[in-house]
């Protein structure tokens, strides 16, 4: 008898990442905030300065809290193709692929990147906040514990690869350090121990396994900042501090800065990239199609978990994620999550999901009715009450679709994504 998959994250005290000692050299402990069980720096210098460094030179990010799994054996590809929406058969050795893990009801469990090292050897990087959930999900799938198909509750995943958690405390561990921005190629090339041409020829979503100044790592042209150039470096946790220091020392003359969670968020918002819990799943239970990532869901694949539900979701979806540019800078109140997004008549057609300051603008991602989708369409935002005092003054605490409210800030829809 199979059970429904449910996961309650046990609350745990946050601990420092493998780079904790490095961070304490640069920021006071009060600057560290708990995030997915780790104490992570919110910013080192300032969010804006770090954001601009990534756009103009490069920035270094501690992503060592991300979950990294190894999937090996003849069943690895079949397993990944069953749990992920994308077609892993389409990628070659040394290539990475974005995709989604869905549950039997088509709800997003996580967005992932799969790295193909060989036909029987894959890595999967999952979100820090979802790592424990995904490990539980996979363990249960290997043991045939969970319902994966509503039409056939006895169905199991027939593939049983060897799955290993490459967490920071494991001997074989791999942790992610991201170097993002236009100068990142020059810095990695300077430190790369192999043929420079191989590195220069590395295309987006391709990776090589080599070393930087003797530190072995997976060097991948991937990232989460909207930068056209950037790397994620997967390194053994024991060598993570050495790699972090090396990149900061050698990057310093180039203007490369360490970056915290704040800039990571503002950069990904500016680039239009979704964050699990905001533009995926979350309050509005957003699906990949609504988020603008239908291409990563291969409906022509015979089987993947959640396929029936996601086809239905696609047909019934009334809303989608858009990117909006609004006035920003000094003296302009920032928009926040759940603030209503209004059409030209002042009717609420959706809500803000995430927002960030970008010089004299605010860039926001919003979940709105498909009637509001064309680039250049004027939209406005109403500030919901954020304190008891504002409620007393008559500010609304929430607004429902089609409710008319008075606009506070006027902007427009911009392209869904932007590359820098």
């Amino acid at each position: 008898m199979k059970t429904e998959f449910a996961f309650n994250d046990p609350s745990q005290d946050a601990t420092g990442s493998v780079l904790h000692e490095e961070h304490l050299k640069r920021v006071s402990p009060s600057r560290l905030a708990p995030f997915a069980g780790y104490l992570m720096p919110l910013w080192f210098s300032s969010i804006q300065e770090e954001h601009q460094a990534v756009r103009n030179t490069a920035g270094l990010f501690d992503c060592t809290h991300m979950g990294v799994l190894s999937l090996q054996g003849p069943d690895a590809q079949g397993f990944i193709n069953t749990v992920s929406t994308n077609q892993v058969g389409n990628i070659v050795d040394g290539q990475a692929q974005y995709g989604y893990l869905l549950n039997a009801d088509g709800a997003v469990l996580d967005d992932i990147i799969v790295y193909k090292r060989a036909d029987t050897d894959f890595l999967m990087v999952v979100n820090a906040g979802n790592a424990a959930k995904i490990k539980t999900w996979f363990k249960g799938l290997l043991a045939d514990d969970y319902v994966i198909d509503r039409a056939d509750p006895n169905r199991s995943v027939p593939f049983k690869p060897v799955i290993e958690d490459l967490c920071p405390t494991s001997d074989n561990g791999l942790v992610d350090i991201a170097l993002q921005g236009p100068s990142s190629m020059a810095l990695v090339a300077q430190l790369f121990d192999g043929e420079k041409d191989t590195l220069a020829a590395l295309k987006p979503f391709r990776f090589i396994e080599g070393s930087l100044n003797g530190l072995a790592c997976v060097i991948s042209r991937t990232g989460y900042t909207g930068s056209a150039m950037g790397f994620e470096l997967l390194v053994n946790p024991k060598e993570a501090r050495a790699l972090w220091s090396l990149l900061l020392d050698k990057g310093n003359p180039m203007g490369i800065l360490p970056c915290g969670l704040g800039a990571r968020d503002s950069l990904r918002i500016q680039g239009g990239l979704p964050l699990y819990g905001h533009e995926l799943a979350g309050h509005y239970n957003i699906t990949p199609f609504e988020a603008g990532y239908g291409w990563a869901v291969k409906l022509d694949k015979e089987v993947f978990i959640g396929k029936t539900a996601v086809i239905k979701n696609k047909a019934q979806a009334t809303h989608q994620v858009i990117r909006v540019a609004l006035p920003g800078g000094k003296g302009i109140r920032p928009v926040r999550e759940q603030d209503p997004v209004l059409d030209a008549q002042g009717a609420c057609r959706g809500w803000i999901l995430s927002s960030a300051a970008a010089q004299d603008q605010q860039i926001a991602l919003a979940y709105v009715n498909k009637a509001l989708s064309e680039q250049g369409t004027p939209v406005s935002v109403y500030y919901l009450a954020r304190s008891q005092g504002q409620i007393k003054k008559g500010r609304l605490k929430c607004a429902t679709e089609q409710e008319f409210v008075k606009p506070d800030l006027e902007g427009q829809i911009v392209s869904r994504f932007e590359k820098f």
């Binding site: 009060s30 920032p334 005092g389």
Partner: protein
């Protein structure tokens, strides 16, 4: 980064009391937790406030934080420079980044606030 001659609240506001006038702002610790301040909602001059009433909302790119009135009083003046230069909260939280002045009814209410030494101990306890 604590000023010796000011009084403090557990919500990380500072108060300077001279006679029946109180000047209010947020502490170095508070501005550091907020990050780059982009907007300050100032109270209305003439507003009568009681302890724990919201007096201001300070917003950074990452958070909106309420500022509470520590004493009974009436707002007499607000720092309107903050409309154009909200970053003064970060750059000069104890001087140019003051938020408002209050005419206070009972200066002895100051006894309920923390001294600089008490606030320093409070901060250390909070960090642990």
């Amino acid at each position: 980064m604590i000023e010796k001659d000011l009084l403090y609240t557990k919500e990380h506001e500072w108060v300077k009391i001279t006679g029946n006038t109180a000047i209010l702002g947020i502490t170095h610790h508070a501005q550091e937790m907020l990050g780059d301040v982009t907007f300050v909602e100032l109270p209305e001059v003439g507003a009568d406030l009681a302890p724990h009433d919201q007096i201001s909302v300070i917003e950074s790119s990452k958070a909106a934080s309420d500022v509470y009135c520590p004493v009974n009083g009436t707002v007499t003046e607000t720092n309107d420079t903050l409309d154009a230069q909200p970053e003064l909260i970060n750059e000069s939280c104890y001087k140019d980044g003051w938020i408002c002045k209050l005419d206070i009814k009972d200066p002895s209410e100051a006894d309920s606030l923390m001294t600089a030494a008490q606030y320093e101990t409070f901060l250390k306890e909070e960090e642990q």
